[in-house]
């Protein structure tokens, strides 16, 4: 199989690159193990700023982003500065959500934290009351003790979110704010808006423990957009081996395709950091496992960590080294047709930001270069 570009990794960086290239009428394939950092995406594109190009690109995929100066509410009741975000995230001009808040949780759902939110909001002058939602379709999930997680509830809410509206009407008194866990709109992004329209107070969907419902939805939407544009999304597959001709990467062999290699003129490595296995570590060193690329990492293990868990951890800044065009380096020399994008870059390119900002900026930079 021959493509213009093969992309390794189906997270934010890989899908953004794939969409940009398909829009420019290049043929591409994305190799995705399935999970990515989008599964614990908070919904905020930190370090990206008010980027019109991102807003347009995501808008075409049906993902509405917004940006306003202000604050957003975090899942433990603190506030953080607003940034470009999914429309699921509400912004506030000051660090205060309103006069009185009613915080509602599903009975037995332990990945949402009303008590922490209440304590945080009270300290900013908002009176808080907590309440319990009893929805039969959620109760039934508890037959299996490990299935009361965000996605399970979200799947039920796709069908019965109106029952939550009825419950809210019973529980609501005079609060001007209602806070719910972020488990609405998994398959239909219009649900949060419809729910807001049906209740008599300002609704805030506050974050839960992973998996992130808006994150999973974003990945689905980006993937659908990519496939609609003609991209080949190889789900549940994994790049296993690389075939070079001198410094030029010719083929990738994958687990599922066996003897049928993926050929391309260009390749983009967007396989993530340690968690996604884009980087791997052993007692003797840190490496990029697929190509053995150059990595910015100390060989002294003691320099990988800060003893204080809450301090910045040096290992999280390690990444694949690149030239100014994001060509990956191997043995000190740039490979002519292999690029690195997203969190596999670590903090090697601080001007590109980190997290979602780094994923999108690096994908834009590489695809602009390839389509120029």
């Amino acid at each position: 199989m021959k493509f213009d570009t093969v992309i390794i990794g189906g997270g934010l960086a890989g899908l953004t690159a794939g969409i940009c290239l398909q829009k420019a009428r290049r043929t591409t394939a994305v190799i995705s193990t399935g999970q990515s950092a989008l599964h614990f995406f908070s919904g905020a594109f930190e370090t990206l700023g008010n980027d019109a190009r991102t807003i347009e690109l995501f808008g075409e995929a049906g993902i509405r982003l917004h940006y306003r100066e202000g604050w957003r509410l975090m899942p433990l009741g603190s506030f953080r500065e607003a940034t470009l975000s999914l429309e699921d995230i509400r912004f506030f001009e000051e660090r205060k959500v309103g006069r009185k808040a009613l915080i509602l949780n599903f009975l037995g759902y332990s990945d949402f934290f009303p008590e922490f939110i209440a304590e945080g909001l009270r300290s900013t002058g908002t009176a808080c009351r907590t309440g319990i939602l009893r929805i039969p379709e959620v109760e039934v999930l508890r037959l299996s003790p490990s299935e009361v997680r965000s996605v399970h509830i979200a799947r039920a809410m796709d069908k019965v979110w109106e029952k939550v509206v009825q419950e809210i009407r019973l529980l609501h008194r005079d609060e001007d704010v209602i806070i719910l866990p972020q488990v609405f709109g998994l398959s239909d992004p219009t649900v949060p808006g419809q729910l807001q329209g049906a209740v008599p107070a300002k609704v805030i969907f506050a974050g839960t423990l992973p998996p992130s419902v808006p994150g999973i939805r974003t990945q689905w939407q980006l993937r659908r957009r990519y496939e609609v544009l003609g991209g080949t999304f190889l789900l549940g597959d994994e790049a296993r081996e690389a075939v070079f001709d001198g410094p030029v990467l010719k083929q990738i062999l994958t687990r599922n395709l066996g003897a049928h290699p993926l050929e391309a003129d260009h390749f983009i490595l967007a396989s993530g950091s340690f968690f996604s296995k884009g980087l791997s570590s052993s007692p003797t060193g840190i490496r990029e496992p697929l190509f053995g690329l150059d990595v910015s990492a100390s060989s002294d293990r003691n320099a990988w960590y800060d003893a204080d868990f809450h301090a910045d951890q040096p290992y999280m800044g390690f990444g694949v080294l690149t030239d100014s065009r994001l060509h990956a380096l191997k043995d000190g020399r740039p490979l002519p047709n292999l690029f690195a994008a997203g969190s596999i870059l670590g903090a090697t390119r601080p001007e590109l930001g980190s997290g979602a900002g780094l994923a999108i900026r690096s994908a834009f930079a590489i695809t602009d270069f390839l389509t120029a």
Partner: protein, 531 residues
């Protein structure tokens, strides 16, 4: 009698203190136990969790060996829910002295320890993970024991018998009347509150910190701290305890316990001042892995969960200040006879295995001083959780079709599991998925088991001790505590401390999947939750 007056005060909430309090309480004394931190935070919670058969000591210390096998049999009976009857193998490798095995077996038998030689094929059949290069093996009645659970069960029994326990309270001085200690001055380390308690006898069971207590009381006691480092692996490689059949050395015991297995230990003398801040070094990690792999080769490629270190409370056996005559045996000092100080007893040295015997010895001295004549019954009276019926009977009574989580709970709590909240499905929701700790078990623990912090909760339930090291359960459990106690602000700090404490044990072995999990935890708490 006032509420700050007791018959005996015990300093130290490790297994020795907990055992001594129970023995005293069983002999009808009004007891108070004072601990500066949580239960089992010193050497009690920082060892292998090995139920020694005594075989390890048989060749060079027959007395310790005899003590061990006697206590081994007693613990299987009185603490059945804390013990796993795994058996143990002492394996010989090609580099070991081949004549050692015969000496070993005859010394074991002399000490009353069953020891049976088997051929290598049989050893591999019993324990498939064992090094296949072995040249011989001896089966002995080793097992594993959960020291947290054992300590908690002793304390629970004392409380059922009217004993009092104050945690997070340090001893700042003693009340002296002439040549006698008659009380203890304390300060709560969390609130700063100062209180004085009175009793005609005080027992110093503070382990390595016993030296400080003796200093405060004005009597000489020289401890010789020896650090021992251990590694916990993410799953059980072995189901039978593996030892080397040779002179005891570093990293030659691999013990399966609960969901994990543990290799250890090293032994390094450290200055007394370092006792509160021991850390595992990279050299120790390398040594533990390379030596451990000689027992079970798959250990070299198995994920390591944590590294930890404890301090052995070794003590000089007599008044020898040089430390040349260090004993690993039990040292029970009646300071009235030794130093002319009345009302003060030190019990130290010894090991987890012999805690009950140490408690008996200390309690005998206390009773002699108080003129109490009741004899010790701890060798025959089961601890709470190990009474009566088999665990299977208990489980069946509570649950028609136990889930794996319920089996895990019965394993942790024994017959106490019958008192857990299980009435509705909410109580069965999993908080810690690795160790299958339910919301009901957490809530029962918060209500009944003297919990101040998440780390206290971990010691009593195994919360956060599994493969993910508290990734998601930290926040879930903190929220349950915040709801139960109405202390959300404190729990936010508690969560930070718990994550720091988990990281401390991951850092020395931070590579591979451990580093992946650590990175994920960073993302969840810093970026998703905004802690």
């Amino acid at each position: 009698m006032k509420n700050n007056e007791f018959d005996v005060i015990i300093i130290g909430g490790g297994i020795t203190g907990a055992g001594t309090q129970r023995d005293c309480a069983m002999r009808g004394l009004r007891t108070l136990l004072i601990e500066r931190s949580d239960i089992a935070t010193g050497a009690t919670g920082r060892n292998h969790g090995l139920l020694h058969s005594g075989a390890r000591y048989a060749v060079h210390d027959g007395e310790s060996a005899r003590e061990c096998i006697r206590e081994n049999r007693i613990l299987r009976h009185i603490a059945a829910h804390c013990v796993e009857e795994t058996e143990g193998l002492f394996i010989s490798l090609p580099e070991d002295d081949p004549s050692y095995q015969q000496t070993f077996i005859s010394r074991c038998l002399e000490a009353g320890i069953e020891a049976r030689a088997i051929d290598p094929a049989e050893a591999i059949r019993i324990e498939p993970s064992v090094n296949p290069a072995l040249t011989g093996a001896v089966v002995v009645p080793d097992g594993s024991v959960d020291p947290f659970r054992l300590c908690a069960a002793n304390m629970l029994d004392s409380k059922l018998r009217g004993g009092q326990v104050v945690l997070y309270t340090e001893v700042t001085g003693f009340v002296r009347e002439g040549d006698a200690i008659t009380g203890v001055r304390t300060r709560n380390v969390q609130t700063g509150e100062e209180r004085t308690y009175y009793a005609p006898v005080t027992v110093n069971a503070a382990g390595i910190w016993g030296q400080k207590m003796a200093d405060l009381a004005g009597v000489p006691l020289r401890m010789f701290p020896a650090k021992g480092s251990l590694l916990v692996f993410a799953h059980r490689i072995n189901n039978v305890v593996l030892n080397r059949c040779r002179k005891p050395s570093n990293a030659d015991i691999l013990v399966p316990g609960d969901t994990v297995c543990v290799i250890g230990t090293t032994s390094t003398r450290i200055p007394f001042e370092e006792c509160d801040h021991v850390a595992v070094t990279p050299d120790e990690v390398n040594l533990l892995i390379s030596e451990g792999a000689k027992l079970a080769p798959s250990l070299a490629s198995t994920r390591i969960l944590r590294a930890y270190a404890g301090v052995r409370p070794l003590v000089s056996a007599d008044n020898d200040p040089s430390g040349r005559n260090i004993s690993r045996g039990i040292v029970c000092l009646d300071h009235e006879q030794r130093d002319g100080l009345k009302g003060f007893v030190t019990i130290t040295g010894g090991k987890l295995m012999t805690y009950r015997l140490m408690a008996e010895m200390a309690t005998d001295v206390v009773c002699r001083k108080l003129g109490v004549e009741r004899s010790c019954e701890t060798a025959s009276t089961p601890l709470p959780g190990s009474e009566g019926k088999s665990l299977r009977d208990v489980a069946e009574k509570i649950w028609e079709n136990p889930t794996t989580a319920q089996k895990a709970m019965t394993g942790r709590l024994g017959s106490n599991a019958a008192r857990l909240k299980t009435e509705d499905r909410y109580d069965q929701a999993l908080v810690c998925e690795c160790e299958e700790v339910t919301a009901g078990e957490i809530e029962s623990a918060i209500e009944r088991l003297d919990i101040t912090t998440l780390t206290d909760l971990r010691r009593r339930t195994r919360l956060g001790m599994g493969t993910c090291q508290g990734q998601l359960c930290t926040c879930r459990a903190a929220h349950l505590l915040a709801v139960a106690r109405g202390c959300a602000q404190k729990e936010r700090e508690d969560m930070r401390d718990f994550l720091s404490e988990r990281w401390k044990g991951c850092l020395p072995i931070g590579w591979g999947d451990t580093l992946r999990e650590a990175e994920y935890t960073q993302w969840v708490y810093k970026h998703v939750l905004g802690l």
